[in-house]
């Protein structure tokens, strides 16, 4: 099956007074129908910029300087504004991190879900409303006939995120981008939202790009993982491989720096010291051609400080590092 989304060598730059600063460099990945890829990394790594570039929503000053973003074969990076508007909310849509700020407080949730249906599918007010009720039911909101006339402030955080999902999926998009869809929610509700996303995905066959900073939380629902650091993809591969045999020191650090819950017998053992990654992500404009992680990396030596890291790997697992680490995680 061909890919729904195929990104090749995407480069995004920021125009600043002294010159042009790269924000994303040579990013490539693709997602097939019904599959999910996770973009992982700290803030400032370019995860959200990637999402905005795909949606054609880059802020002022940022521009796509090279590469292509193909949505079912059509390069959206080169489309004019009104052609993009035809796509957004229709063939591709996005779920934002904070449902309270992403919903319009002065319209009912029914109006907001119907808007996309009426715009893109030319439905009448009445049919759109019926479809909106069906969507609310699909995202498991109780009493959807009444909730459709509710305003966002009348709903809880979890409900609002369900409304966002209903809105994003109303036109059965081919591609869904979810930017940290659960960070604003409680843990038990997070699990519900991920289950819902997966069900809806199986139903519609949508390709999902899931942006997250916690790899293990999304391991169940993703097929592939791309780890970003300072605007570059440093490691990419199937989820199980990345989780169990990460090779890039940054990926290994990310996984080791989260205290993982130990249950049952393992809980009796005292906690091991948590590994930390010293320092922080270099700012925009402070990134040279060399490995961006080298200043924080305990293995950095010799070639790391002389030339950009080569991309190596077998099959689907690729890593950009001079000193990829062995199997044992």
């Amino acid at each position: 099956m061909s890919a729904i989304l195929d990104i090749k060598n995407l480069t995004v730059t920021l125009q600043q007074s002294p010159g042009v600063v790269p924000v994303l460099e040579n990013l490539s990945f693709s997602v097939k129908a019904g599959k999910t890829i996770a973009l992982v990394g700290e803030s400032g790594c370019g995860k959200s910029m990637t999402a905005l570039a795909i949606m054609g929503l880059l802020p002022d000053g940022f521009q796509i300087a090279g590469g292509s973003i193909a949505l079912e074969g059509q390069d959206v990076a080169k489309l004019p504004g009104d052609a993009l508007r035809q796509l957004r909310g229709n063939r591709m849509s996005m779920i934002f991190q904070e449902p309270m700020t992403a919903l319009n407080p002065v319209y009912t949730v029914g109006d907001q879900i119907s808007e996309a249906l009426r715009l893109h599918q030319g439905l009448s007010r009445q049919t759109a409303r019926e479809r909106a009720i069906a969507m609310l039911r699909a995202v498991q909101i109780p009493a959807p006939e009444r909730r459709i006339d509710a305003y966002p402030h009348q709903l809880s955080g979890g409900m609002r995120q369900r409304v966002m999902i209903a809105m994003a999926l109303a036109c059965r998009p081919r591609l869904l981008i979810a930017d940290e869809p659960t960070t604003a929610l409680d843990v038990t509700v997070q699990a519900q939202i991920f289950d819902l996303l997966r069900e809806m995905q199986q139903d519609i066959g949508t390709a999902i790009v899931l942006i997250t900073h916690d790899l293990s939380a999304v391991a169940d629902i993703t097929d592939e993982v791309a780890v970003l650091y300072a605007g570059r993809c440093i490691e990419q591969g199937p989820t199980a491989t990345i989780l169990n045999q990460p090779q890039h020191p940054y990926t290994r650090g990310l996984i080791a720096s989260v205290p993982h819950l130990r249950l049952g017998l393992a809980a009796a053992q005292p906690s091991e010291a948590l590994e930390e990654i010293p320092g922080m992500v270099p700012g925009l404009g402070k990134r040279g051609p060399l490995c961006g992680f080298a200043p924080r990396c305990r293995y950095s030596a010799g070639p790391c400080l002389e030339a950009p890291p080569p991309t190596t790997g077998t099959g689907s697992h690729q890593v950009a590092c001079w000193h990829p680490q062995g199997e044992a995680a």
């Binding site: 700290e42 803030s43 809880s156 955080g157 979890g158 409900m159 409680d186 843990v187 038990t188 509700v189 997070q190 699990a191 519900q192 289950d195 900073h213 916690d214 293990s216 391991a219 169940d220 989780l243 650090g253 990310l254 720096s257 989260v258 205290p259 993982h260 819950l261 130990r262 249950l263 049952g264 017998l265 809980a267 009796a268 906690s271 010291a273 948590l274 590994e275 930390e276 990654i277 010293p278 922080m280």
Partner: protein, 338 residues
């Protein structure tokens, strides 16, 4: 009270008025914290976990005397914090300090980092001006910031560094107790580890006692000796950390653990038995009977009528549930199969 207990909370209640149901209706009350008791031994860490609305932050604020206490009392060492007023309370504050969740809003953007850290010392008039300057330098060193940081403004720091400033400020008065309200949840994962390790080291070096509020079970397990699980204003389960994670006895604890369990077969089978439907009910006039009954996969008639009391379930292990036998048996069989 025994000598090694630093903080003692007895039947704490914090209720807030929430207007009326309609113009002439009944007065409504938010039962934010509804009868919470626990003891924290010196130099240990007491974790409180729960979802938003469970009352964990309100408990923290009540301990800090930042929330109105409706009933119950809080003792820190020999002092009853509940009855302190005015100047006596202000003086006592040097013994208990707080680390806030959001280091962006916890620091005044118009003051320099050094002034912010010194402020508690200046206000409480601790030592001479020279002492305070010296203390500032050592505090910055302790939290891993260079001495030049004192001259900078908060916006010149990253999130992790700001949290270090907040920690330095909390440490400045050499408190016995530090209440940490979700100190790492606003930070990036890689930075979280730095702050957690710093908190651990500070506890060891300075003999600190922590009350640690979090919704992240992994973090709580890493840091805490004792853990209380709160739901809708009440403690539903409390146990030493190792014991709690080896075998919880309350269905809510199981569901929190399910949500945080490492990915794999175990999480899948836990999910089938313990995952929750819906969201916590409103803390305004909470339901009769067990407050968790509406979401509990084990609940029956009795749970909806009779409120379960916190009772002993092992050494130092307390649970408030009618179905605890059935719940632990279900959990044990899943864990054994994995």
């Amino acid at each position: 009270m025994s000598n090694d207990t630093l903080l003692e909370v007895n039947d704490l209640k914090v209720h807030f008025p929430a207007g009326r149901a309609g113009a002439f209706g009944q007065r409504l009350t938010v039962h934010a914290v509804d009868g919470v008791s626990f003891r924290v031994p010196r130099q240990s860490t007491f974790g409180i976990v729960g979802e938003s609305g469970s009352g964990k932050s309100t408990t923290a604020q009540a301990i800090m005397r930042l929330a109105p206490i409706t009933a119950g009392n809080i003792r820190l060492g020999e002092t009853d914090l509940t009855t302190l007023r005015g100047d006596a309370l202000r003086k006592a504050r040097r013994h208990f300090q707080m680390i806030f969740q959001d280091p962006y809003s916890a620091l005044n953007p118009r003051r320099r980092a050094g002034d912010l850290i010194r402020e508690p010392l200046d206000l409480l008039e601790v030592g001479s001006a020279d002492d305070r300057a010296e203390r500032l330098e050592s505090l910055l060193r302790v939290v891993g910031l260079p001495p030049e940081a004192a001259m900078l403004f908060p916006h010149q720091f990253s999130g992790g560094q700001r949290q270090r400033l907040v920690i330095a400020r909390a440490l400045s008065t050499q408190p016995d107790l530090i209440v940490c309200d979700e100190p790492v949840s606003a930070l990036d994962v890689a930075i979280q580890a730095q702050i957690l390790n710093l908190l651990k080291r500070l506890q060891r070096d300075h003999g600190l006692t922590y009350v640690f509020i979090s919704h992240d079970l992994g973090v709580v397990q890493y840091l805490c000796d004792q853990i209380a699980v709160m739901y809708l204003g009440q403690i539903v389960e409390q146990a030493p950390s190792a014991q709690l994670f080896a075998g919880p006895r309350h269905p809510y604890t199981w569901s929190l653990m399910t949500a945080a369990a490492p990915p794999g077969g175990l999480r899948q089978s836990l999910k089938q038995r313990f995952s929750l439907r819906g969201e916590p009910p409103s803390p305004i006039n909470p339901p009769a009977g067990c407050r968790f009954a509406a979401r509990c996969p084990f609940a029956d008639e009795r749970c909806r009528k009779e409120t379960p009391q916190l009772s002993v379930a092992g050494s130092g292990h307390f649970v408030a549930c009618h179905k605890t036998e059935e719940v632990s048996a279900a959990g044990r069989s899943i864990m054994a199969a994995a």
